[in-house]
């Protein structure tokens, strides 16, 4: 690696920028080297790319498989660049080995620029509110989806929902043993524990339970609460699942719908 031409900017050692993916990193390297994408110098970029991965390693950051894949592609391409380019039958030089990479980068840059315009629009439009759903006069309207917009994703989700609910309503016999635990009771206990924004360590709580039946009821209660968007879950680095209460309020008919 030649330290002069091929090195990453010194500032990256102080504060390593994080990219949206390997193509994003490559785009930035082209920019750092002040060349046009079409003139990309594969050898230089390849070394810088590996240097970047090295810095990530030093900082104990996980390197996604996509970066490793791209790094391998770059090495392959670099070696191809070293070979004399063969000629085709009519004497023209064969395709530049960089062509594929250049096309990908150009297309990626084009779409990335577009995503910046969308981002700008998004941050403006996120402030637009419509009226909250209310009933039309004389018409009770249950939650509905626009038929035209219903897609496979909704269909699958609905089917899952049916199966989950069915299992929930038809528990295995051992849940029915003498000690029964009410999901609703667990549900209310959970919400009480989350009151005032207190975090709730789910796994630790489940470990403290006395029986399998109780664990099942407590867990179903968490699923209910999540389904109603009353809680959100966060996984900590240590692997704990921490629950937080969202701002959504519980409606009384929802509570009544929770299995006793």
């Amino acid at each position: 690696m030649t330290p002069a031409a091929g090195s990453l900017p010194e500032s990256w050692r102080v504060h390593l920028p994080i990219f949206e993916g390997p193509l994003d990193l490559l785009l930035q390297l082209v920019r750092v080297n002040k060349v046009e994408i079409a003139q990309i110098e594969v050898a230089v970029v390849c070394d810088q790319f590996h240097e970047y991965l090295g810095l990530m390693e030093e900082m104990n950051l996980d390197i996604a498989a996509e970066y490793i894949y791209e790094a391998a592609l770059l090495i392959h391409l670099k070696s191809k660049m070293l070979l004399p380019r063969p000629r085709t039958e009519d004497g023209e030089p064969a395709e530049d080995p960089r062509e594929e990479l250049v096309k990908r980068l150009l297309e990626y840059r084009r779409l990335k620029d577009a995503s910046h315009s969308l981002a700008e629009l998004h941050s403006l439009r996120v402030g637009v509110w419509t009226r909250r759903p209310q009933r039309l006069p004389d018409a009770e309207q249950p939650a509905t989806l626009d038929l035209e917009e219903v897609s496979l994703f909704d269909l699958l989700k609905a089917f899952r929902e049916v199966l989950v609910r069915y299992d929930h309503d038809h528990p295995e016999p051992y849940h029915m043993s003498r000690e029964t635990y009410s999901v609703r009771e667990q549900f209310e206990r959970l919400l009480a524990a989350l009151e005032g924004g207190r975090p709730f360590d789910l796994l630790a709580d489940l470990r403290r339970r006395r029986s399998r039946g109780e664990i099942v009821a407590a867990f179903l209660a968490v699923l209910e609460a999540a389904r109603m968007h009353l809680v959100r879950m966060h996984q900590s680095e240590g692997g704990e699942l921490v629950l937080y209460r969202t701002t959504r309020e519980l409606r009384s008919h929802e509570l009544e719908a929770v299995q006793i």
């Binding site: 509110w129 419509t130 009226r131 909250r132 759903p133 209310q134 039309l136 006069p137 004389d138 018409a139 249950p142 939650a143 509905t144 989806l145 626009d146 038929l147 035209e148 219903v150 897609s151 496979l152 994703f153 909704d154 269909l155 699958l156 989700k157 609905a158 089917f159 899952r160 929902e161 049916v162 199966l163 609910r165 069915y166 309503d169 699923l223 999540a226 389904r227 968007h229 809680v231 959100r232 879950m233 966060h234 937080y244 969202t246």
Partner: protein, 190 residues
Amino acid sequence: MTDRAEMEAALEAILFVAAEPLDRAKLVELFDEGEGEAAVAALESVLERYRQQPGRGIHAEDVAGGLRLVTRPDLHGYLRRFFEITGRSKLSMAALETLAIIAYRQPITGPEIHELRGVQPAGVLKTLLDRRLIKISGRRQVVGKPFVYRTTREFLMHFGLQELKDLPPLEEFEETFGSEPDLQMSLEEG
């Protein structure tokens, strides 16, 4: 200090968005302390826009629970007519679930759907039949000879499928999008 026009705009936006009657005091408290009087005046100006006037379809109502904007009751005939004629085709969650059951468990009978959903499906089946998303394909030779339901060509077209085989199994859904969609959904709301 909040600009008077801004105060009015904010109050009007809040009244517009709210689904429930709003407490006047709470509305006024939105602004800094010491702006209370200005806020009361701003609220009055906003409400003035929603007094009953011939050309206005919305008015402000002072009900027990507080203030809210509502449509003028004498216009309800127009509202009903408009939304009956132009309403986009809607599918309730019940209908979607029933459709999903039929799609994945066909051929299936009404009583079997009832067992899976725990709800009598007659009304929903009619909706789905009317929309031509499902069809009756004979009767099951059991007690009561119930109708057997299947999805239609329109169903396949609607979901962009060539054949029923293309219906993704649940496992594929979980592989593609993770196994706990509902938990994840709330994850993003943070």
